[in-house]
Symmetry: C2
Subunit: 327 residues, 2 copies
């Protein structure tokens, strides 16, 4: 059990500092921040709840804190923006101890460095189960901001990285199995890398007509940037990028080779649409950042999503996605 | 049990609107906001957790949502600022139904009007127990911001309103009793009024040298603006403002007449310090806003808090406060 006052003191010691843009940080009623006057402030929040988003025995406190930040800043990257500050609201159950608190603090410190942001406030509560709610404040130039809306029929659809690794890694973790290639997949689950640099580069070059980060499986997130905006999509199953490790392990866990890649969730890759004349620019960005970007389909007029198999026929896709219930 | 997708749709319908300062509201990866360029952005977060901060059988969904917002905006008022936007992160347990969701939505709508702010984003999760985490974004002119630090020895200490009502109201609620004067006290607990207008008026007139909202009992919050900042305080017990209803009911619940007024928590009144030559200005503000403001002691050099009884002697004060564990 964590002593609340000493926890607050420890947090204030570790995070109390004066830095750019922070007029007042942790330790007052509210933080006071300075943003660039010519930019929009981006704000988003995301929760990690014990036994819903994570199981405590499968992730360390430090990994958990870092991941909570990573998945929240991913949303800012998907707008083409830059994260600057976070607030962390933590509900501790009676089972957490001081060591766990230190782990969380370490994870937050790591994420400050990795994502170049600052923890400027938060809240500690008691709770029945552990939860971490992260609010990220970021910024973006108004003319560079990429929304979920904006895709036009004929636009090509792209995804960064590979899909399904995190969901497969979670299955391996849950089965407590050890084997060749497993470490890569487990790491993709515990240590997701939000595509901040890529999102920013795409925005600066005004490449995407719409963009979203894939948090709930590509099918559901594709629906969010097409069907929910009045367009549709054709997705070519054979083009879906999966990793070598995914290909080697998936058959031990599922008969459906593409199930987790389509609907597994927690990929945190960027899904975006773009006019076809920007193909060359996308290749250049991919090469410069050394990040795989794959064309996987195109936007249509009718408000449905079709998944095409190797013969160009519509394949069934019953699992629409792993809904975390985020906005 | 709440259907997640339909819940999101309903929330988007109710809150999706274009208004001043909101470039992009609910429904994208992040909200995009415009703040006044000459102001600091204030950011604070606060949680209400089932069976820690509230019991579901004692509060309606609408009251709960409004109260979660009220206690968070209270922090912005205590900086002399103005709340503008909120993000709401809600964890639903399996016990909540659609009716409950509608109640929450109503409470958020009510708080939008009452506090002149806008819900611009959030997150829905599953959870073992219900929780609501509210992040408030507000703004304040840099030269008007009132911090917790700043009290000088000799400054007088003031509180708005009356103390202990909310804590006594909670006891009455828990005992399910009905009686004369109870309604007033119960209402103070379920429907706290953050002192936004008063905080703003005090700041505009640069009256306080330090200020905080009383969330965890005046003793603990007084410590936060004195001892934790390197000063101390003498508090005169006989001057503590309590309501008529508190005076009439307290003896049925406690032998210690001032216990709940000192340490009860959830008053959400403003506690501030001010140079003695501002007494007249404080009286004017109190009269203009029709809000009781009471001088209750003064700031000292030594880093201790003494509570003085009717004879001017130090009285014991074992209960230091009801720690919600907020920052």
């Amino acid at each position: 059990m964590i002593n609340e006052l000493s926890a607050l003191r420890r947090i204030e010691e570790r995070f109390h500092k004066a830095s750019k843009g922070v007029e007042l940080g942790i330790g007052d009623d509210a933080a006071a921040l300075q943003f660039d006057t010519d930019k929009l402030v981006l704000a988003t929040t995301d929760s990690q709840v014990e036994d819903v988003h994570f199981v405590k025995s499968l992730i360390t406190a430090s990994e958990l804190a870092r991941k909570a930040v990573a998945v929240s800043v991913s949303d800012v990257g998907a707008m083409g923006g830059v994260p600057r500050f976070i607030l962390a609201s933590v509900g501790f159950s009676e089972k957490e101890n001081e060591e766990f608190l230190d782990g969380l603090i370490s994870g937050f410190k790591l994420s400050e460095e990795e994502f170049e942001l600052e923890l400027i406030g938060g809240n500690l509560s008691s709770s029945n189960k552990l939860f971490i709610d992260i609010t990220v404040l970021g910024e973006v130039e108004p003319h560079l901001m990429i929304k979920r809306s904006g895709a036009n029929p004929g636009d090509l659809i792209y995804t960064s990285g590979t899909l399904g690794d995190s969901a497969l890694g979670l299955k391996i973790l849950q089965n407590k199995e050890i084997g060749y290639g497993y470490e890569f997949l487990i790491n993709k689950h515990l240590h997701p890398i939000p595509r901040l640099e890529l999102g920013r580069e795409l925005a600066i070059n005004r490449v995407p007509t719409s963009m979203i980060d894939i948090s709930d499986g590509i099918l559901l997130d594709l629906e969010r940037i097409t069907v929910q905006q009045g367009t549709g999509a054709k997705l070519e199953l054979m083009k879906l990028p999966t990793s070598k490790q995914y290909g080697e392990c998936i058959h031990q866990y599922s008969d459906d080779e593409y199930g987790l890649a389509l609907s597994g969730g927690e990929d945190y890759e960027l899904l975006f649409t773009s006019h076809e004349d920007r193909r060359g620019d996308i290749q250049t960005i991919s090469k410069n950042l050394n990040i795989q970007i794959t064309e996987i389909g195109y936007v249509t007029k009718d408000r449905t999503i079709e998944v095409l198999n190797i013969n160009g026929e519509a394949a069934p896709h019953p699992n629409r996605g792993f809904i975390h219930f985020n906005n």
